[in-house]
Every structure is written in C-alpha cells, then in structure tokens.
Amino acid sequence: MSTFDVSSGSAPGTGRRRRTAGPVTVDGVPTRRNTELLMLAFAVAIPVLAYANVGLAIDGSLPAGMLAYGLGMGALAAVAHLAVRRFAPYADPLLLPLATLLNGLGLVMIWRLDKAGKLLRNNFPAASNQLMWSGLGIAMFIGVVLLLKDHRILQRYTYISMVVALVLLAAPAFFPSRTEDFGAKIWIRFGSFSIQPGEFAKIILTVFFAGFLMVKKDALALASRKFMGLYLPRGRDLGPIIVVWLLSILILVFETDLGSSFLFFGLFVVMLYVATERTSWIVFGLLMSFGGAAVVATSEPHVKTRINAWLDPMAAFAPKPPPQSSEQIGQTLMSLGSGGTVGSGLGQGRSWLIQFAAKSDFILGSFGEELGLTGLMALFMVYGLIVQRGLRTALAARDPFGKLLAVGLSSAFALQVFVVAGGVTGLIPLTGMTMPFLAQGGSSVVANWALIAVLMKISDTARRPAAEPAAIPEPAGPDRYGPGPDRGAPDQSRGASS
C-alpha cells in the first residue's frame, strides 16, 4: 500500500520531486492522510468495543447508547480528520488517532465508573459531561487547525502570553476554595461551571518560553560569564524569564498545586536546555529542584502527608491511622495487584474501592485493575508515542520557535503523564494532576486537544514541501531555511516521519 511506503520521502532531495502513487501532493511528499484515517478507524472502534464489553460485563447486554456513542465518536473523529485534511494536510498522521483512542477509552472507563457509582457516596455521573467536553475539545482542535494559519504567528504574542498565563494562574486564588477540592485551589468557578486554568496556562506559558528563548537563545548561549565552572548568562538576558517562571511557581505553591509547579519547573529547564544547548542548565535545574523540593517538603504539611503516604501507602489502614492520611494509594496498589497481568476484564473489577477519585486522578488504577499490566503497558506506549511524535515534530521543524514550542509541549505532556502515573502507581509521591485525555475533567480535555492541534500545525509546516515565508523575520541562524548543521540526517528530513 503506497500510503505506508516509507521510502518515498526518506532520502532528502530525492523524495521531494519523485511522484508515487497514492495521496501525494504535486511535490511528491506523501501526506499520510489515509494512514491517519485508517488509524482513526481503529481508534474509534477500540473504545466502541470496550463500551460493548463493559455493558456485557455489567448488565449482560449491549449498552443502549452504543450506536449513538460509536456514531458520535466516529463523526467527531471524521470532522477532525477532514479539518486536518483540508487545513494541515502534511501534519503528523499518528497524533490525532492516538489522542482519539485515549479520549475514547477514558470516556468508556468514566461511564463504567458511573455505573459502579451507586456504591459510593459523593459520586456523580460524569460520562455525559465528559462526552460534551470531549466534543468541545475536538471543536477546539478543529478551531486551532482552522484558525492558526502558521504556528509562527504565535511568536507575535510572546509577551501577551506571559500576561495571560500569569493571570490564568493567579485567578483561582481569588475564588473561594471549597472543601470538595481537597486542598488545591486550582479552579475558577462561575456557578456550576468551572475551569482549571493551569491546564491552559501550560500551553500559553510554553508559547511565552518559546518566543522569549527563541529571541534570546544566542545571547544566553554565548554571552555568558564563567562562574564556578558553569556558564552563567547575563541578567538582562535571563531576567524576565526567571521572573515569570518564579512567579508561576510561587502562585502554584501558594495554591498548593504541586504537580503543576513540578511540571512548569521541568518545562522551564528542558526548554532552556534545548534553546541554549548548555548542559549546565540541567545541573542548575536538578540542584534547584532538589533544593525547592526539600524546602517545600519540610514546610508544607500538605506535602508531608503526601510523602508519608508514598513511603507507607498502607498506613491509612492501620487501626489508628495517622491524621490526614489517605487510603487511595494503598487502594490503587491493591487494585493494580488484583488486576495482575491480564486484568479482571472491563467492567469486572472493583475499581470503586478507590472511591470517587477513580474518575479523575486515579483512573489509571481502574485501567490497571481491569486491563491489567498488559493494558497499562499499552496505555504507556500510546502516551510514549504521542510524546515521541511531538519530539519528532520538534526535530523536523525548520524554525527555532517551532522547535522550542514542540519540545516544550511534548515534554510538558511527558512530564504530566509521568507525574500522574508515577504518583498513582507509587513510584513518586502523589502530586495530584489529571491523566491527559483519560481522566474526567473538562479543562484538561480541551487544553490537551489544543496541545495536539498546535503540535500538528507545527508538523504540518515542518513537512510542507515548499517553505512559506515566516510571518515574523527571524534572526539568522543555522536553523533557518537553508541547510544548516541540523539538516541532512535522514531522520529529520521532511516527510520522513512515517
């Protein structure tokens, strides 16, 4: 099948002009849109079958909404695909199917936990809401694909992004906290409607970092003084970004949203390292994170509880549990253990023992119990693939802004997956974030769909045969359109990302 023909674009300079059969453009670069369509069919079919599986396991019959769900998911995916075909024809073919698969599986699991919900207090059905949010998420995806003509336009909004991100992050502090939010002040509420601005700030802050570092990267990399064997940049180069970053971390610590602080910290270090190509940033980053972690861990009682729960997850089951202990990690570990290698089967586990948080923070525990080690490994593979496609896009991108943005978005995604999954499985202390696409939560779904859309736009530009002029003049550098030191290796040439 020609759509899987990887050779057509593998050799730089030759594939560009060669004509092959199948959906290729005039220039001969395969668009891989049919690949995407085929993968999308799988990505819709698997959750629909999973939905049927849950219905059969719990009620002994196919769920009544199965047809509507299948058609709805299929229609949403199809519209997204058509939008990509029309407005980002060269975009990466795997990102959309992978995100659709995760979103669909998440919906099925939330619906399944709704069904078990009568066993719990504090439980409210969430599947229909999540379905609506998924629709909005895909609408957001289409909107970005449609309206963002070129990702380089975002560069214009570098400083506006900074302001917006800070406002978004600070906003929840001005809204009253509620007991059911479990200590974290990360929501903005309008009546029954609420958004979690941190998820959007993740993307907007990445835009700011990318825009700022793109401009300053040479200064940061070259105009530095040597201090104790490390190269330190001048204050005027690094100052603004340090200030913004510190502000966001402080806001998050103030709102006790530790997962996000860690995420923003990692994001900052990774982007600085990629922009400057200086290993010293990693050293700085590690030193600062250890320092910061030590300070927070000793001062913040909320964190101490989390660390204790990580060290001894079964402490909450003792006859006299320590104050503020939570049994959720212990419950999750027991559900993972009960799931074993192949799991209990969808709908046949007892995930509700993890309590209502199963739908948000702990949905991975439910997957682990019902799909087993096999299922979790597959999910991690899917997440790993999304990250890998994003980093691949960064390699392929021809402009430093695009590179930085793609690296930032992908590594933020990877860090979030690691922080949540690591916390839930007891690898690291739990910090409380949502599993991208899988977990219940409107802001999370919409923001992550936007993230995927931006990545796809960057990959579209990267793989588009004839480079269009950039919207903003860029400083000359090796990464500009002409062949530079980064070009030439086959893996980053256009069209190679099969």
Binding site: K118, L119, V270, Y273, V274, A275, E277, M314, F317, G330, L333, M334, S335, L336, G337, S338, G339, G340, T341, R350, L353, G368, G372, L373, L376, M377, F380, Y383, G384, V387, Q388, L391, A394, L395, P400, K403, L404, V407, S410, S411, A414, L415, V417, F418, A421, G422, T425, G426, L427, D479, D486, A489, Q492
Partner: protein, 485 residues
C-alpha cells in the same frame, strides 16, 4: 538545537520506561501480595462472586448459594436445616467472615485451592461457569437429626463416632443458630449477629467440640481402664476393698455416693460401675496415682490440644500434680478433670473398637463429582488400652446398660454398653449438674456407633438430673439411628 532535542527524547523515554518498570513491579512481581493483602476487600467480594461449593451430608447438600446479584456480592450463602448442621458447617457471612468447615475448607469451597487449578482452567477454557469444590462430610443425617431432636430445647451437645473408622456421624450443639440469618451484609444481618453474640446461652458456641465439661462419672471408665492396664484388678468381678463412706486421703472429707443405701462397700468393679460408686473409683484412683491416670487419659486423647477433625477441638484436661485427695476426685471426673463431648465419645469408641482409638474425622472427601482432590484415609490415633482390657471394659459398660444406671439405653437386638454421669460444677457445686451419657452400640450386622451426650441443666429440679434419665434416651435414639433400627 537537534542534539538537545534528542537528549530530551531519551529523557522522556526514560520517564516512560520508569513507569513501565514500576507497573511491572507492582502488577507482576508484587501482584499476589497486593491482591491478597488483608485490607483488599476484593478477596471478600470474590468469595461470593460465583457459586460457592457445597457441604454434603448423606449425599445431599446442606448448603446453598443463592444468586442475590447485590451491588457488592453476587451470591449469598444459605443453609438447609441451618441450626441442626451449624456445629458442622459453621457460617460464611459477607460481613462476619466464616467459621468451622466454611472457614477451614474455604479454599475448596471458594475454588481457590491450588488443587482445583486444573479443573478451574479447564472450566475456563470450556466456558463452564466458575464454581467452588464440594466438601463431603461423614455426618449421618439420621443420627444428626436424632441427636438434634433429642436435645430439643435443652442446652447440651452430642457426638457420635463410628468406632471402627473414627468417622464422626453426628455433631450437635444446642441451643444452636441459623447461619442464614446473618450470611448477608445488611443491617438485619448485623442485628441478628449482634443478638447471637449477646445471647447468654451462647448459641454460637460449638459445645460438641469447643466446650469442656467436668466428665463426672463417665470418667470412671478411664479409671477402670487404668486399673486393668496396671494389673491392679484382673477381672470385673474382682472385689474392691472400699469403705463406705470413703475419707479422702490426707483430709477428713468424706466422699459419698449418690445414695447411702447403695451397696458400694467392698463392691466388685462391675457392681461399682453398675451403681456408679464414687467411693470405689475415688479410692481406686487415689491408689493408682495421678501419673498413671493421666498417662491412661492421654492415651484416650486428653491433654492433646491438636485434635483436629479438621475443626480443632478444645483440649480435654487431666491435671498433673494433684494432691492425693484431688486425684481421688479427678478419678471420678470432678475436681480439675474436664472433657469435651468429642473426647468422651472417643473414650467409648476406643473401648468399643477393642482399645484402638481411631483419629476422629469429619471430612470424607474434597472436590466435586468426577474430580475428587482428596479422600480421608483412616488411621489409628493410639492404642488406648489392650484388647483384653477393652473386653473387660465392654463387659462393664454392657452390664451398666443391662443392670445398672444405664437401663434407659437398652436397644432390642443390639449390644449396648454405656456409662452415666452426673457432674457437679460451679462454686461448691452450686450449679445445676451436667447429665452425661457415654455409650456404644453394636448391631448384629457389624454396624457400630459410639456416642457421648451431655445435657446442661436440663431440669429445674436438681434431684431429677441424672445421666441415665436425661442423656441416655438421647444417646439411645442416636444409636438406633446409627444402627438403622
């Protein structure tokens, strides 16, 4: 910029790999430890997620698994003739764990026993619904019913054993309870359990296995066995040198008989047994000494805290180091001597089986039809007395039923031997005495059954309580049922 991007990809790969390693550790290496953690409620829910195996009595299941399809539990346990079989089956409750066979055989009943693995796998492959294995008991429903109806609303216990094999034919304790009333997890189940726990009559107590009583005069069989085994007496017709009343050694306390008119002075062993003379056996015990008595008692199973049938019986007790007057009282089953009903049934069974005490057992087979995973093999627990001594003891017991206090247990066409007991207890013997009857019966067709019955305060009037009048009729009914008469 591509070099750092590649390094970042490697870093992200490491993050994903770390997650994969972690879940492999939790779900692969540690999986069963988490799955079977004592706080993991799934274990409890799994037990009732599919039909539990049955406990079989006389070819019929006395247990059922009812599909209730509850939110947490799919099945609920119920019992046929629950109160009658409760001392055998125990209970298996969603909220209150399990006891007795339901607990001890849980691996088989719930199907998790590793020996059922092959069948379970086969069932999974052939699509048969999962089900636990069965436990086949040795209980004879006719004997069980005779004992249960005989005890009626009296407080007490009864045990029947096949002396030749050790198979337990009946195991009854009254007042009993219906395990079905609290097999679920609802409020009414909790209330039923709380009421049973608070009941002063202790219906949850398995009196047949788990309660020790002073055995009273039934212990005179052990004293007589010691006397024959040690050579102090050769024949049941040997006369004893016994005053009436007998003054306990080292004291001025007189040991009396039930009635002062009974001819116990210098009676023969057989007459003393017929009349249940305290003076004769008290003096006999004091002269034999505590050590000899204890050694003989231990051969019958006393002082053994590991009599598992497989439900563990409480250890029956014969004391060590009593003073001579204490030993005289121990020898007639008072003072510190204590025995479970099972223990006294074992004494009767060993005597009936020519001195050979067979290991008592309750479970004949485990597994389902066509897939038996274990069958009990009989084995001797000890040679309690020599066959010659056993013959002499049989002669004594048969005489008790023919001529003595055990006349109420006579069965036409069968050889019946027995011994009555009326055991004092409480502070200064203030409690209403316990009525005992320990016996065996042999039919013409070779069938045998050994029985022990104890009735606690069966009548309000103290002088109406005696083993012969209260316990013997129940034992007789059980023996008749066991012999099929």
């Amino acid at each position: 910029m591509n070099k750092p991007i590649r390094r970042v990809s490697i870093f992200c790969l490491v993050l994903v790999l770390a997650l994969m390693l972690r879940v492999n550790w939790v779900q692969g290496v540690q999986a069963s430890a988490w799955a079977n953690n004592s706080h993991n409620e799934r274990v409890k829910y799994d037990r009732y997620a599919y039909p539990r195996g049955n406990i079989i009595v006389g070819g019929q299941a006395v247990t059922k698994s009812d599909l209730v399809n509850g939110l947490r539990y799919k099945y609920k346990r119920s019992w046929v003739d629950g109160p009658m079989y409760a001392p055998v089956t125990g209970y298996s409750s969603q909220a209150f764990d399990a006891s007795q066979l339901e607990k001890l055989e849980d691996g088989v009943l719930s199907g998790t026993d590793s020996r059922l693995f092959f069948r379970n796998t086969l069932d999974m492959l052939t699509g048969k619904p999962k089900q636990g294995g069965d436990v086949v008991t040795t209980i004879d429903p006719k004997v069980q019913r005779a004992a249960f109806e005989g005890l009626g609303d009296k407080k007490g216990a009864a045990v029947a054993i096949d002396p030749r094999t050790g198979a337990i034919l009946a195991l009854v304790s009254t007042p009993s309870y219906d395990p079905t009333t609290f097999s679920g997890g609802s409020d009414s189940d909790s209330k039923a359990k709380a009421a049973l726990d608070a009941d002063p009559n202790k219906p949850l107590l398995n009196r047949a296995l788990r309660e020790t009583y002073p055995p009273g005069s039934t212990f005179k069989l052990v004293t007589a066995a010691t006397a024959f085994e040690s050579g102090k007496y050769q024949n049941p017709t040997d006369t004893t040198d016994t005053p009436n009343p007998y003054v306990l050694p080292g004291t001025s306390t007189e040991l009396k008989n039930a009635s002062s008119t009974e001819p116990c002075e210098n009676a023969t062993v057989q007459d003393a047994m017929d009349l249940s003379c305290n003076t004769v056996f008290g003096k006999m015990g004091a002269e034999l000494g505590g050590d000899k008595l204890r050694t003989q008692a231990e051969k019958f199973g006393f002082n053994n805290d590991q009599v598992d049938v497989p439900i563990r019986a409480a250890a029956s007790y014969f004391p060590k180091g009593s003073s001579p007057d204490g030993t005289a009282m121990d020898a007639i089953g008072q003072h510190d001597t204590r025995a479970t009903p099972l223990q006294m049934a074992m004494v009767a069974a060993a005597i009936a089986n020519n001195g050979s005490l067979m290991q008592p057992y309750l479970v004949a087979q485990e597994g389902s039809a066509g897939n038996v995973i274990s069958t009990h093999t009989e084995h001797q627990m000890s040679q309690a007395v020599s066959p010659a001594t056993a013959q002499k003891l049989q002669q004594l017991m048969e005489s008790v039923v023919q001529n003595g206090t055990g006349r109420n247990a006579r069965i036409p066409g069968a050889t019946v031997g027995g011994k009555t007991g009326t055991a004092q207890h409480g502070q200064d013997n203030s409690g209403l005495p316990f009525a005992w009857f320990v016996s065996y019966a042999k039919g013409a067709d070779g069938k045998q059954v050994a029985v022990a019955v104890v009735v606690e305060d069966g009548a309000a009037e103290r002088n109406e309580i005696s083993g012969g009048s209260l316990a013997a009729p129940i034992a007789k009914a059980m023996m008749q049922a066991g012999l099929g008469k």
